[in-house]
C-alpha cells in the first residue's frame, strides 16, 4: 500500500522565516578587543577595575547583605569581637602581665590597635579566599579577577566603621579628647587596607593552585599579631631594631592609629615611611604575580 500522505512532508521543514538583519549600529564605532595569549610579566589591569566599579560595589553589597541575613546577632558581631578581645587583652596583658601602655588606660590602648588589626586580619582572610570561593563564577563569566580580592578587603571596612563608634564611646568614657592628628585616620586606615590587599593578592592567587593557603592564613594572622604592637607598646622594642621592625607594615599602621587618637610625643615618621615603602613593594609584587597567574585561574581552579 502506497501512502498518499507523503505530501505531509512539505509541511515538515522546520526552517522558520527569517527577516534580514537590519543593523542599527555602525560597526566602525565599536571598540575592538584583541584576544590573544599574554606573555611575560605585565602589570594587572588596574584601569579595568574602574570600568567595572559597579560590579565591585555589588560584590561588597552582596557579601554584607548575606552575612547579616544569615547571622542571628547580625551587625552586633562587628562589635562583639573587638570588645571581647579588648577585655581579654586588658586582663591578661594589662593586669596580669602588667605590660606598660605608654601611661594610658590599658583598655583604650589596646582597642586603638585592635581596631586596625581586626580590619587587617579580616580583610586578609576574606581576600585570600576570595578567588577560590567564587570559582563557579570565575569559570562562567569574564570580569577583572582583581575585583575579588579588592571586594574582600572592602567588606572589612564596614565592620571597621561600626567598631569605630565604640572607640568614640571609650574615648569619651576615659575623658580623652582627640588631637588634630585624628584627621590622619583615613591615611592609616588606607595603609592597613593596602597591607591586607597586597598580601591578599599573593595568597588568593596561590590559593587557586594550593588550597593549603586556606589553612595557613589564620595561622599567619596569629603569628603576625605578635609581630605587631597590639598588646604591647612599640617602645618595648630596642631602638636599633625599630627600622627593621617597621618593615612589618602593620607596625606603622598601629603606631599611626595610637598617635592619631591618643596623641603622644611625635608622629611616627620614620616608621611610617619604612612601612609605606614595604607596602608599596608588596603591593606591586602582588599585582604582577596576580596578573601572571590569573590567566590560568579558570583552567586550574
Amino acid at each position: 500500500m502506497k501512502s498518499n500522505l507523503d505530501e505531509l512532508e512539505s509541511a515538515l521543514p522546520i526552517q522558520a522565516t527569517r527577516s534580514a538583519p537590519e543593523p542599527v549600529r555602525t560597526a566602525a564605532s565599536l571598540p575592538i578587543a584583541v584576544i590573544a595569549p599574554s606573555r611575560g610579566w605585565s602589570p594587572a589591569h588596574v584601569a579595568e577595575v574602574w570600568v567595572y566599579r559597579e560590579l565591585l560595589y555589588f560584590f561588597v553589597w552582596r557579601e554584607l547583605k548575606v552575612r547579616y541575613k544569615q547571622t542571628a546577632l547580625g551587625v552586633a558581631w562587628a562589635l562583639i569581637q573587638p570588645i571581647l578581645t579588648m577585655i581579654v587583652f586588658s586582663v591578661i596583658f594589662g593586669r596580669l602581665a602588667q605590660l606598660p601602655s605608654n601611661g594610658l588606660p590599658y583598655p583604650i590602648f589596646a582597642y586603638c590597635a585592635l581596631l586596625p588589626w581586626q580590619l587587617f586580619a579580616f580583610a586578609l582572610n576574606e581576600s585570600s579566599n576570595s578567588v577560590v570561593v567564587h570559582q563557579r563564577l570565575l569559570t562562567k563569566v569574564y570580569f577583572p579577577r582583581l575585583l575579588l580580592p579588592i571586594a574582600g578587603v572592602c567588606v572589612g571596612l564596614a565592620d571597621f566603621a561600626i567598631s569605630f563608634v565604640v572607640l568614640i564611646g571609650l574615648m569619651w568614657f576615659y575623658g580623652i579628647s582627640p588631637t588634630m592628628g585624628i584627621w590622619t585616620i583615613p591615611l592609616w586606615t588606607a595603609l592597613a587596607v593596602m597591607t591586607a590587599l597586597s598580601i591578599g593578592l599573593w595568597l588568593s592567587a596561590l590559593n587557586v593552585r594550593y588550597r593549603d593557603v586556606r589553612y595557613a592564613v589564620p595561622f599567619l594572622a596569629q603569628l603576625w599579631l605578635y609581630a605587631t604592637p597590639v598588646a604591647y607598646a612599640a617602645s618595648l622594642v630596642p631602638e636599633r631594631w625599630r627600622p627593621l621592625y617597621a618593615l612589618n607594615p602593620m607596625v606603622g599602621v598601629v603606631e599611626g592609629f595610637r598617635w592619631a587618637l591618643l596623641g603622644g610625643a611625635a608622629a611616627p615618621g620614620l616608621t611610617t615611611l619604612v612601612s609605606a615603602g614595604a607596602v608599596c613593594v608588596l603591593l606591586i609584587g602582588g599585582l604582577v604575580y596576580f596578573r601572571r597567574t590569573e590567566r590560568t585561574f579558570a583552567d586550574v581552579i
Binding site: 537590519e22 584576544i35 569574564y142
Partner: protein, 415 residues
C-alpha cells in the same frame, strides 16, 4: 569592515594533570625535593610534575569570520571544543595560540544563574546577576519590570530565591540574561531549561536580538533550534573546524558524521565528577525493533557514599528534540552508591514506542548540589517493526511515537 568576530589560528592546550584538579603544596615541595636529591636515583619523579604531563589540544587552529548581525550556530559532539571556543571568546580563559578580534561588548550566557545567591531575594539577585553579566545599574533599573514580567515571577520578587522552584530560578536567570544588551552574545546550551512555552519565548527573544543587528554565537545540542535560529553553522570535531557554511548543509554533514561514529554502548567509563564514574550505560538489545521489549541499564561507581536526588536518562531524536525522560527515582527512597557498592539500575520497557530511526540517550544525574547533564552518551537504533503486512509510511513523516493500538471496524468485516 563589518566583521564582528575574526578568529585566526585559535588553539587551546590543556595539561591534563591540571584539569584534574589543584595540587597540594606538599606535592610541589616533594617534587622539588625529589629533583634536587637526584642521588636517590630511581625514585625520581614517579608521579612528580618533572615528568612531562599529558596534554590535549581542546582547540586547534580554529579560524573563522562572523559578520555583524549574524546568528551562527556551533555544532559538534561532546568534547569537540565548542565550549572552549566560547570560553576563549568570552575571555574566561586565554588561548594558547592564535588570536581573535572582537568588535564591541561581548555578553556571555555560558550558564544561567551564576552568581545567584539563595539567601537574597529575586529583586536583589536580578541586580547582582545583571552586574555580573556586565550591565550598568541604571540599565538594570530601566529594564527591571520587563525582566520580572518575562520571568513570570512578579508575585515572588521579594522572596529569597531559595524558596523558588528550580524552574522559576531558571526563568529568572534567563530573563536577566536575555535583557543584556551587548553587541555580541555568546549562548551555550541555555535553552535546555524551562518548559516548552518558555523555550519558545527564549527562541523568539533571540531572534529579536539578531534582528536588532546584534551578533549571536549559539551552541546547542538541539539541532532543531539551531536550524530555526541560525543562518550559518560552524562544525567542530576534535577541536578543529570541519565545516563552515549554511546551517542546513552543516547539520546534515554533522548527522552523517555522527551516524558513522556514534557508539551504541559506552566504550569507556565516563568521569562525572572527581568521585563519581558512569561505568556502564546502554540499552539491550540495541538495535531494537520498534514496539518490542528492551532494557536500559546503568552502573555508577562512587569513591564515597552518595545519594542521588535525581537519576533521569533521557532520549532525544537525531535533531536534538526531546522525546522522553526515564525517571528512575523510586518512592521508597533515594538511590545510593558507595565504595565497593556500585549503583546498578535497570529499566524494563514492555515495548519501545518509537518510530524507527536513530535516537540519542543522555542522562541527568544529581546528587545534592552537584548536577551533571550528559547529552549524548549512546545512540539507540530503533529498527522497523518486523511483522508489518502493510508498507508503512516513511519514517520521516511519522513523527516520533509509534502508538500501540487495536483497530476495530464498526461496520463489519473488511473486504
Amino acid at each position: 569592515m563589518n566583521t564582528a568576530i575574526h578568529a585566526e589560528g585559535l588553539g587551546k592546550l590543556y595539561t591534563l594533570g591540571h584539569q584534574q584538579g589543584y595540587g597540594a603544596l606538599r606535592d610541589s615541595l616533594t617534587a622539588a625535593l625529589r629533583s634536587s636529591r637526584s642521588w636517590l636515583g630511581g625514585r625520581n619523579g614517579a608521579n612528580g610534575r618533572t615528568r612531562s604531563a599529558p596534554t590535549i589540544w581542546a582547540l586547534k587552529d580554529v579560524s573563522f569570520d562572523i559578520e555583524h548581525g549574524e546568528i551562527v550556530g556551533i555544532i559538534g559532539r561532546n568534547g569537540s571544543g565548542k565550549s572552549t571556543l566560547l570560553k576563549i571568546l568570552a575571555r574566561i580563559t586565554e588561548p594558547t595560540t592564535g588570536r581573535a578580534l572582537v568588535a564591541g561588548q561581548v555578553g556571555s550566557l555560558l550558564e544561567v544563574g551564576t552568581g545567584f545567591h539563595p539567601e537574597l531575594t529575586g529583586r536583589e539577585n536580578i541586580y547582582i546577576n545583571g552586574a555580573i553579566l556586565g550591565m550598568r545599574r541604571r540599565e538594570i533599573a530601566a529594564k527591571f519590570d520587563e525582566i520580572v514580567a518575562f520571568a513570570e515571577v512578579s508575585r515572588f520578587i521579594d522572596t529569597p530565591v531559595k524558596h523558588y522552584s528550580s524552574g522559576m530560578q531558571m526563568r529568572l536567570a534567563f530573563a536577566v540574561a536575555a535583557h543584556l544588551d551587548p553587541a555580541i552574545l555568546l549562548v551555550d546550551e541555555v535553552l535546555a531549561v524551562g518548559d516548552q512555552a518558555f523555550q519558545q519565548k527564549c527562541i523568539s527573544k533571540m531572534s529579536d536580538v539578531a534582528r536588532e543587528g546584534r551578533t549571536v554565537l549559539f551552541v546547542s545540542h538541539d539541532l532543531t533550534s539551531i536550524q530555526v535560529l541560525c543562518s550559518r553553522a560552524i562544525r567542530l570535531a576534535h577541536g578543529q573546524v570541519r565545516g563552515n557554511g549554511p546551517v542546513a548543509e552543516q547539520v546534515n554533514a554533522y548527522l552523517a558524521e555522527s551516524r558513522m561514529i556514534a557508539p551504541t554502548d559506552l566504550d569507556h567509563p565516563v568521569e562525572l565528577t572527581d568521585d563519581l564514574r558512569l561505568v556502564r550505560f546502554g540499552v539491550t538489545p540495541n538495535p531494537v525493533p520498534s514496539g518490542s521489549a528492551a532494557t536500559l541499564f546503568l552502573e555508577l561507581e562512587a569513591t564515597r557514599r552518595m545519594r542521588f536526588d535525581e537519576m533521569a536518562p533521557f532520549i532525544h531524536d537525531s535533531l536534538g528534540r526531546r522525546v522522553g525522560v526515564i525517571d528512575l527515582r523510586q518512592p521508597s527512597g533515594l538511590h545510593e552508591a558507595a565504595p565497593g557498592r556500585n549503583l546498578k539500575l535497570e529499566a524494563h520497557f514492555a515495548s519501545v514506542p518509537l518510530v524507527e530511526g536513530e535516537y540519542r540517550i543522555g542522562a541527568s544525574i544529581r546528587s545534592g548540589a552537584s548536577h551533571q547533564i550528559l547529552w549524548e552518551l549512546i545512540t539507540l537504533d530503533v529498527t522497523a517493526k518486523p511483522d508489518s503486512e502493510l508498507v508503512p509510511y516513511r519514517a520521516e513523516i511519522r513523527g516520533l511515537v509509534a502508538f500501540d493500538y487495536a483497530i476495530r471496524s464498526l461496520n463489519g468485516e473488511a473486504r
